[in-house]
Symmetry: C2
Subunit: 327 residues, 2 copies
C-alpha cells in the first residue's frame, strides 16, 4: 500500500481524498491543515486530521505527500520545504514561475533523495503532455488550446472583489466557430477575443448599482477587457441551484503537415469534458503520486514534471499486463 | 545529427523518409531493401539504397535503424535480428504476439547494449498511450476505441483475393450515433456491428459476377460478416481519381466517474484525423527513433514500448525549453 498524506483541505484536497479511494494500492494516512485540526471535518471517517507541524515528524508513516495549496503563495514555499522530507506532488500552475519553482524543488529533493513532481493536473498536466507529444509527432504545425466550458475560479474571485458584488461564478466558453476552423485544418490566426467568451453570473448586494458592476467587470484589464463578456444578475437561490458545480475542460489541438511538399494535413485533438475540475485534477495527481513512489523506490530523486515520467509508472499494473491489455 | 537507416521501402518506409526531413537533428543515411537496390527509386536524391546484406557491416554509420516491414512475417524475424546490432524501432501490430515479440527483442537488445522500441505508430502507439493515461487517471471507467473514417489495408487486401476482383479500397467508418452516446457519458454496451460500418469500392474484372463478389465480401468471416457492409462497383479511373489516398484516424475515449458516490462524470477523448496513415505513422516512429538514440546514449538497453519512454525523450528540445514553452 502506498501511504498518502494531504496538505491543505480545500476543493483540491477533497478531490485528492476521493481519488485515493478509487485506487486499491493506496491509502490516505492523514490530512494536514494550517487551520485548527478540530475544525476540519473530512470525508473519510477513520482518517486523522493534524496541524501542519505534525509533518515535521511523520516521515516514517507517509510515502507521498500531496500538496493542495495555492500557487500564489503556498506552493512556492511548501513544495521545496516538504520535498526535503517527503516525496511530494503539487499542482503549481503559475507558468512564468515554473523554472524557479523547478530549481528550488530539484535542489531540495535531490539533497533529500526524494522525488518532487510539480505542475501536475490537467493544465499544466495532461494538456501539457498532449502538446508535447503532438509537437514531437508533427514538427511542422500549429498549437491551439481552448478552455471550457468551465468555471474559472480566478475570474470568479476577481469579480467578487468588485464593490457591491456578493458572489460570482464565471464561465470560460470556447467559441465554436474558432474550434471548427481549427479542426478543419484551416490554421486560423485567432485573437484572444475570437477564441473564448466569458459569462458571469453575479449576485449583487442589496442596493448595489448593477450598471456600475457590469461596467467594472467588462473593463477589468487582463481578466475581461480583451473578451466579449456577458453579465447576468441572479439571486442567491439561483446561484446555489444552478451554479454549485465546478465543471471544466477544453481541447488541445495541433494541426500539422507531412509529405515531401506538405501535401497531407493531420489533426490531433485531446479533449476533456469534466463535471468536476478539482476531482479530475485530484485524480491526475494521485496517479502521479504512484509514479513518485515507484520512481523513488527505484532510487531516483529530484524534481520531475509530467514530461520526465514514463507513462507506465502511473499504473498499478505490471509491464506485462499493460502490454497485454492496453498496447 | 542522429543518423537513421530505413529497412523496407513501401508506404511506411516512404512515410519515415519524409518525416526525417522535418526534423533538423536527423539525417537519413541509407535505405535498405531485399529487392535489387538498382530497382528501388527513393524520394531523397542524395541517399544510397543498399541490399539488406549491407546491414551486416554498417553499425558505425547508423544510430537508429527503422524497420518498415510487415508484422506477419518480416518483423518477428528482423527486429530481434537487427536489435543485436543496432538501436531499432518497429511498428509491430499483431497484438496477440506482442509478449513473444517483446521477449525476443529484449533478449537481443540487452545482449547488444542497444534499445529496441516495438509497436510504435498510432495504434499501437499514440492510441495505446492515451488508453494508459486515461485508465490511470480514471480507474473507474470504460474504454472505447473507434477507428476511421479510413482505409484498412488488411480488409482491402482480403477483398482483392476474391475471384473476379481487380482492385478494392475498404473504408472503416465509425457509427456516429455510437460515438455520440459514448461522448455523452452514457456508457453504452456496443456490439461490433453497432460501432463501425464498412464500405468497399471494388473494381471488378471484365465479365465477373458482381452479385457473387458482393455476397463473398459481405459473408467473409472475421473481416465483414459481423459488420454492415456496403459495396460499390466502380471503374479503374474512378478508383485512381477518388481513392488513391490513405486517410485514417479515430478516437480513443474513456468515460469515468469520480466523487465519493461516483456523482461526477468525465470524458477524455483523443482524436486523430489523418490524411495519410503511413506518413503519420512514420512521423510517430521518427520521434521515437530520437528517444531510442537518446536513451541508448544514457546507457539504457533492452526492449521498450511507448509505455516505458518518458515523453521528454521524444523532443529535440531541452528540459528547460520544454518546461518554459509546453508545460
Amino acid at each position: 500500500m502506498i501511504r498518502i498524506g494531504i496538505l491543505g483541505y480545500g476543493n483540491l484536497g477533497r478531490g485528492v481524498e476521493s481519488a485515493i479511494k478509487q485506487n486499491d494500492d493506496m491509502k490516505l494516512v492523514a490530512v494536514f491543515s494550517r487551520r485548527d485540526p478540530s475544525t476540519v471535518k473530512i470525508q473519510t471517517s477513520d482518517v486523522a486530521v493534524y496541524g501542519i507541524d505534525a509533518l515535521e515528524t511523520m516521515q516514517d508513516a507517509i510515502d507521498v505527500l500531496i500538496l493542495c495549496g495555492g500557487s500564489a503563495t503556498d506552493l512556492p514555499v511548501q513544495t521545496p520545504q516538504y520535498a526535503a522530507k517527503y516525496n511530494v506532488v503539487d499542482s503549481f500552475d503559475t507558468h512564468a514561475r515554473i523554472p524557479e519553482h523547478f530549481a528550488n524543488v530539484d535542489a531540495a529533493a535531490k539533497k533529500a533523495g526524494k522525488i518532487g513532481i510539480i505542475s501536475c493536473g490537467w493544465d499544466p498536466g495532461m494538456f501539457s503532455l498532449n502538446r508535447l507529444y503532438a509537437n514531437c509527432v508533427l514538427p511542422e504545425g500549429k498549437d491551439y488550446t481552448f478552455w471550457g466550458k468551465g468555471v474559472s475560479q480566478g475570474h470568479s474571485d476577481a469579480v467578487r472583489r468588485i464593490e457591491g458584488v456578493k458572489d460570482c461564478r464565471q464561465y470560460t466558453i470556447p467559441v465554436d466557430a474558432a474550434m471548427e476552423a481549427v479542426r478543419a485544418g484551416k490554421n486560423p490566426e485567432l485573437t484572444t477575443r475570437e477564441k473564448h467568451v466569458r459569462e458571469c453570473f453575479v449576485v449583487a448586494k442589496e442596493g448595489a448599482d448593477l450598471g456600475k458592476i457590469e461596467e467594472a467587470i467588462k473593463t477589468m484589464p487582463n481578466y475581461f477587457a480583451d473578451y466579449d463578456t456577458t453579465v447576468h444578475f441572479i439571486t442567491e437561490e439561483e446561484m446555489k441551484r444552478d451554479h454549485s458545480g465546478l465543471p471544466h475542460g477544453g481541447s488541445v489541438i495541433r494541426t500539422g503537415k507531412t509529405g515531401l511538399n506538405g501535401e497531407n494535413t493531420h489533426v490531433i485533438e485531446y479533449k476533456l469534458t469534466l463535471d468536476s475540475n478539482p476531482e479530475f485534477t485530484g485524480s491526475v495527481i494521485v496517479a502521479y503520486a504512484r509514479a513518485a513512489y515507484r520512481m523513488n523506490r527505484e532510487g531516483m530523486s529530484g524534481c520531475k514534471t509530467v514530461f520526465d515520467i514514463a507513462p507506465a509508472y502511473l499504473s498499478a499494473q505490471s509491464g506485462e499486463e499493460l502490454r497485454a491489455h492496453l498496447l
